[in-house]
Amino acid sequence: MDLLACVDIPFFPLQLLARRRPDFAGHPVAVIDRDSPRGKLLFVDDLARQAGVRPGLTYAAALSITRELRADVVAATEIDAGIRELTAALIGFSPSVEPSPTPPGVFFIDASGLSRLHPSQVEWAERIRQRCRQEQLVARVAVGFSRYGTFAATRAIRDVRVFHSVDEERRFAREVPLVILDVDPTLVAALDQLGVRRLGEFLDLPAAGLRDRFGAAAYQLHRLAAEKLWTPLQPASFAQPIRELTRFDLPIADLTSILFLLQQQLAAILPALAEKGLAVATIEVELKQERRGIHREELRPAVPTADHKLLMNLVVLRFEALRLDDEVSELLLVVQPVATQRRQEGLFRQNPRRDVDAAGRAFARIRAAFGERSVFRAVLRDAHLPEAAFQWEPLEQLALPSPRDVLIPPLIRRIRAAPRPLAQQQRLLRDDGWLLGDLEQGAVVACDGPFIVSGGWWAREVHREYHLVRTARGDLLWVYYDRSRRRWFEQGRIE
């Protein structure tokens, strides 16, 4: 059987965050899904665990446990960039490296045929760990014979493990607890009640019975762990980033000159990429300033492209927003190419009048001009509090709309980004003389409610009494009384 290595960067998004934010060192650290007090913790480090912080808590709840907590969002683009970086680093150890789509931070490497280069597999695996350490990432490496077997082993070891036979790998993997294998917690809890706690005990269960009792996902996992879904390694199609470093004889402080130089450099690089069937996935520009040090900008087109005009458009939009108040002595351009992929056209609903791909390019230009967090779509969530009933998710590509017919549409509320505290009012609401805004708006003349929203008693109790108030001017305001804070707030208005 061919040798295979699994490289696992545990809690990959957390390690990326720690690398990006060295100022978090020494503090409990967490990755949150959104930058909001209601953001949910996805990963926590050991210091946070010791303080009693667990994944699944809200950021606000975690801060109430420990004020030392440091948290941030790790975007999908950052994870993708981290995977690309590490793939590039691991290709030095084997020509076939396959990043696993899920969970992020797991890589499978073809370890066969390397005995003449690396007589000791342990040494080879240690070198891989060392290389990851150079990228400021902690890795575990298992060398064996099967994907799931080596993956399970990396979860149970601290550094390196090499298996010398299939049986040895199988015996080790069978003892790995299910709870550390990224299995759905609900399934783990259900199996635990049956006394099934290890991978071997899970594999001993009849597969068909699993599907009937626990569903298709459990059945699929069983087949995966039993290597019934074997596929050959799918190595990443990878091209080395292209770096162009320019050192200026005399430092310059003129953005126009820098843009002109970038234009020339891209014009020289792109034709060669296109000939090889490559396109630009990301562009990084580093300016080394005399006093302020390195200033870095990263740009990403909507889809990888070798179109010079489109890429320069993004560069100009980003640099237009910059203020260069220090002289630049060095300019580094890093272009990350990827293999272009042909898309199958014509199977899906199209609007011949509107080009949705053009919309994606427009989004990329808007992100270049106004920042990565500027283009979103709303996603509804199942929650009681209005501000938790939806979430803004970054939007990359435009989809053609599929609206529903509605017989009588509702009036639309506007919701404030944060509820506005109102002037104090009596607990029993009076509908005369209460001034919520300016004199032009007028006092409250009528009030409907209360509409109670209550819950969260298991974590932090929330009790809000919502009212719809009408002012003298005719505004319809959406307000609530927060019983725990004993204060009135404006959630928004109907408009």
Binding site: N351, R353, R354, D355, V356, A358, A359, R361, A362, F363, R365, I366, A369, F370, R373, S374, V375, F376, R377, A378, V379, L380, P386, A389, F390, W392, L395, L398, A399, L400, P401, S402, P403, R404, D405, V406, L407, I408, P409, P410, L411, I412, R413, R414, I415, R416, A417, A418, D448, F451, Y466, L468, G474, D475, L476, W478, G492, R493, I494, E495
Partner: protein, 204 residues
């Protein structure tokens, strides 16, 4: 349906979208190719109605905002809007909003852009000029939502249609809302539009 200046009649919101467009009709089709400014007590509801109508015609819409509040997505979903196909662009001020609109218009990919400005109304004239040209070129409706009184001036002379919206309570959970057209370079001012809406879920 909207009527000539001397008459008003009630309509149910979405059914109006199914009638053929007539001159002076508050509909997505009549707003394409020009700048519209809408203010008043039901401007957000009417703008979401335009988004829904544009989507029904397979015309992608986008919402650009520089305000501290936005439309409440669950209500837009209740109104039939496909939220997955509605990009929302968050920018710092009205100039950035106009620049973002410029980028979206240039793509030719959108049938409707709503610029939710509120009290941020100092959109530079050169940008407005570009938006007009692009709206005409790509047959796109550009709608500015502003917070102002009917007697206040338009954003600029380039605004082709200026309307002030109103709202009144009809009966339990029924509201009338509509517009009075203050300026219309295509059909002349003075016409109006009216429709019936229900209160948002969980409120009334």
């Amino acid at each position: 349906m909207s009527q000539p200046p001397t008459a008003k009649s009630a309509t149910h919101g979405n059914l109006a979208a199914k009638t053929p467009a007539l001159p002076g009709h508050w509909s997505f089709a009549d707003l394409t190719g020009r700048l519209t400014e809408l203010s008043g007590l039901s401007s957000t509801s009417l703008a979401i109605g335009l988004v829904h109508e544009a989507q029904q015609r397979s015309e992608p819409a986008a919402w650009i905002t520089c305000r501290s509040s936005t439309f409440f997505p669950p209500d837009a979903n209740d109104a039939g809007v496909d939220l997955a196909a509605l990009p929302v662009i968050f920018v710092a001020d009205e100039t950035a909003a106009a620049r973002a609109a410029d980028q979206l218009l240039r793509s030719g990919a959108f049938g409707l852009l709503v610029l939710d400005l509120g009290t941020h109304q100092k959109v530079p004239m050169p940008l407005q000029t570009r938006l007009v040209g692009l709206a005409q070129k790509h047959d796109t409706a550009v709608v500015f939502l502003t917070a102002k009184l009917p007697r206040s001036a338009s954003l600029s002379s380039l605004v082709s249609l200026r309307a002030s919206s109103w709202r009144e309570v009809h009966a339990d959970d029924r509201f009338g809302c509509g517009i009075e057209v203050l300026k219309d370079k295509r059909h002349g001012p003075g016409w109006s539009h009216q429709e019936v809406r229900r209160g948002p879920a969980g409120v009334c």
